[in-house]
């Protein structure tokens, strides 16, 4: 929705004939507010980055340099901490485990959430509102409540210490979240599209895969981003459901504190490496997240 006012250039946001101040003054005033907001944003970003920078800084130092003196940047640059992680299978398997269960969870969740979200956005059926509310309550169930029963449940069905156990457990909050987000996106697609497709002779599965899913592509991208995010950062359940074979990296990091003190360098390097997958994922969905964070509800 946009229109062009009379006496203005395309792209000019201001109707000049109504204004008392000259364009030059206005430009100057705009430039000043712009500069001020850039400055504030810059300060926020610097403060935000600082803790992460400190972690990165420590990961590139030897333990003696970390403990010996305050250095704002690594004076004897060393990659030993990273090399140590990449050459020790008990360390790097932690990353493999984490990524494995996150991917499994994303796949399972999106497969069952897409049809369910479609049902919620297009049909009313007995108990739909109650079901939706029940789903939301699962989103709000504190993982701490479920720790013990989860352990017993997965132990008794023989899934304890497997990737799939963590992936299934994370479905508890990820499926409701995915349905909530996808429902918003699907409701913004006009229903006439469905009806036209059915008149054209599309069956439901074919319509869904060929027409509907491509239409809500960016919604799915955003959903996957959120699924990744919440599965990647959650560790309470992941830690409880695993022992050795599927242990997430966040748990392996606690090994750095030994009797002889904490291996700060390795801890910092492992921490930096847990941030990297997130950066990668944001980079891929950067064009969609701006819109998608509103979850289709603006």
């Amino acid at each position: 929705m946009s229109y062009q006012l009379e006496n203005t250039q395309p792209g000019e946001k201001y109707n000049t004939i109504f204004s008392r101040i000259t364009p030059a003054q206005r430009r100057k005033r705009n430039a000043r507010t712009r500069l001020r907001s850039r400055l504030l944003l810059g300060i926020y970003l610097v403060l935000m980055i600082l803790p992460i920078y400190w972690l990165l800084n420590m990961s590139l130092q030897t333990n003696s340099e970390i403990l010996g003196s305050m250095t704002m940047w690594p004076e004897n640059l060393t990659f030993d901490n990273y090399i140590g992680i990449f050459t020790n299978s008990s360390w790097y398997m932690g990353y493999v485990n984490s990524i494995a269960y996150v991917l499994m969870n994303m796949l399972i969740t999106i497969c069952v959430a897409l049809p369910a979200a479609y049902a919620f956005s297009r049909y009313s059926f007995i108990g739909d509102k109650h079901l939706f509310f029940w789903l939301l309550t699962n989103l709000m169930a504190p993982p701490a409540v479920f720790l013990l029963p989860y352990f017993q449940l997965y132990y008794s069905v023989g899934l304890f210490d497997t990737h799939i156990a963590v992936a299934l457990a994370h479905c508890l909050f990820n499926i409701p979240l995915a349905i909530w987000i996808l429902e918003g996106f699907m409701s913004s697609v006009p229903k006439e599209i469905d009806e036209t497709a059915y008149i054209d002779g599309y069956s439901f599965p074919r319509f869904f895969v060929k027409i509907f899913i491509p239409m809500i592509r960016s919604g799915i991208g955003v959903t996957l981003f959120f699924l990744f995010m919440f599965s990647w950062v959650e560790l309470l359940l992941a830690r409880t459901l695993t022992a050795t074979d599927a242990q997430p990296i966040g748990m392996i990091m606690t090994r750095t504190s030994t009797a002889s003190g904490i291996d700060w360098g390795t801890l910092a390097a492992a921490g930096v490496l847990t941030i990297l997958p997130g950066i990668l994922v944001v980079y891929f969905v950067r064009h969609h997240i701006a819109k998608g964070f509103a979850l289709g509800r603006t």
Binding site: S2, R38, W54, S124, F133, V145, L148, L235, R286, T298
Partner: protein, 294 residues
């Protein structure tokens, strides 16, 4: 949108229902089961009725944790919501700068929660952390392991650092959906900046703000990993929140009955709050539809 009444939609919901029920109902029933029994061994258990619930509700340690939890949740909401809106307002709207700022701002959201704790633990240490060291250089006696006030400030600072980006991103996407014509109209009316914010931007943000408050409330109410790593609940129990009390009781002390009763109370509180939010959202949407129809 008018929805078609069709009970076959249940077929579409069914696979999801089976999965979530496996993850939610079975464990929840286990909790309910424990909460009314005293488990002494594999085959020795007694029905205790509501005894555990009474014990838990009267436990001063838990009441204190509950109070701390509420204070914490309200404090971070009061800081994060205005700060998030402010950041969203000054974020660049287009170009490579917009992408760069977006990526930078979402960064804290994608760090595993216990790593967030580790980052802040390192950052605030007096000997090797920039912030702890810096404050000591300034002559401030800052120590999160000994001073409860310092621990509180640090945890709130950490949560603001960690989660303000979520509020900012939600508001940013809300702002992006406002058509340029609204701003043009406001300029013709010579609306002040405040008026533009109050009558154009804020109304458009209500939808996303409801989501932001809801998400932030529930996540802050279940916060566990970050304070656990940062302070371990200390000094004393000054930063022990509900999740941590529960985990200590259930896993550490193996008090199945009381901790199950506690779990149910905890869950009911969250349920109550989510019901209030859910009804509020639903009513808001109804109002909007009836306005659109009129």
């Amino acid at each position: 949108m008018n929805k078609v009444y069709n009970n076959r939609a249940w077929l579409l919901v069914l696979p999801m229902l089976v999965l979530v029920a496996f993850s939610a109902i079975v464990p929840l029933m286990t909790v309910v089961n424990y909460s009314v029994q005293d488990v002494l061994g594999a085959n020795a258990r007694f029905f205790t009725g509501t005894e555990w619930f009474e014990t838990m509700l009267n436990d001063p340690a838990l009441q204190a944790a509950f109070l701390r939890q509420i204070i914490f949740s309200l404090t971070i909401l009061a800081i994060q919501v205005p700060l998030g809106i402010g950041i969203a307002l000054i974020m660049p709207k287009r170009g490579w700068q917009a992408s760069a700022v977006l990526i930078l701002i979402t960064l804290p959201l994608l760090i595993p929660w216990n790593v967030v704790g580790s980052i802040w633990q390192i950052f605030t240490r007096g000997d090797i952390g920039l912030m702890g060291w810096g404050l000591r250089q300034l002559g401030i006696d800052y120590n999160i392991t000994r001073n409860a006030g310092d621990a509180w400030v640090t945890i709130i600072l950490m949560d603001v650092w960690h989660w303000t980006p979520l509020v900012a991103m939600l508001c940013y996407s809300g702002l992006r959906s406002i058509p340029e014509a609204y701003y043009q109209a406001a300029r013709i009316d010579r609306a002040s900046k405040w008026a533009v914010f109050r009558y154009i931007q804020l109304p458009k943000l209500t939808n996303v703000l409801v989501i932001a408050v809801l998400l932030r409330f529930m996540h802050s109410f279940m916060i566990y990993a970050e304070p656990f790593v940062l302070t371990g609940g200390g000094p004393g129990s000054s930063t022990t929140f509900l999740s941590q009390s529960l985990t200590t009781m259930a896993v550490g002390q193996q008090d199945l009955g009381p901790s199950a009763a506690f779990s149910i109370i905890y869950f009911l509180v969250i349920l109550l709050v989510s019901w209030v939010f859910y009804t509020a959202i639903m009513n808001m949407q109804k109002d909007k539809h009836s306005q659109g129809g009129a």
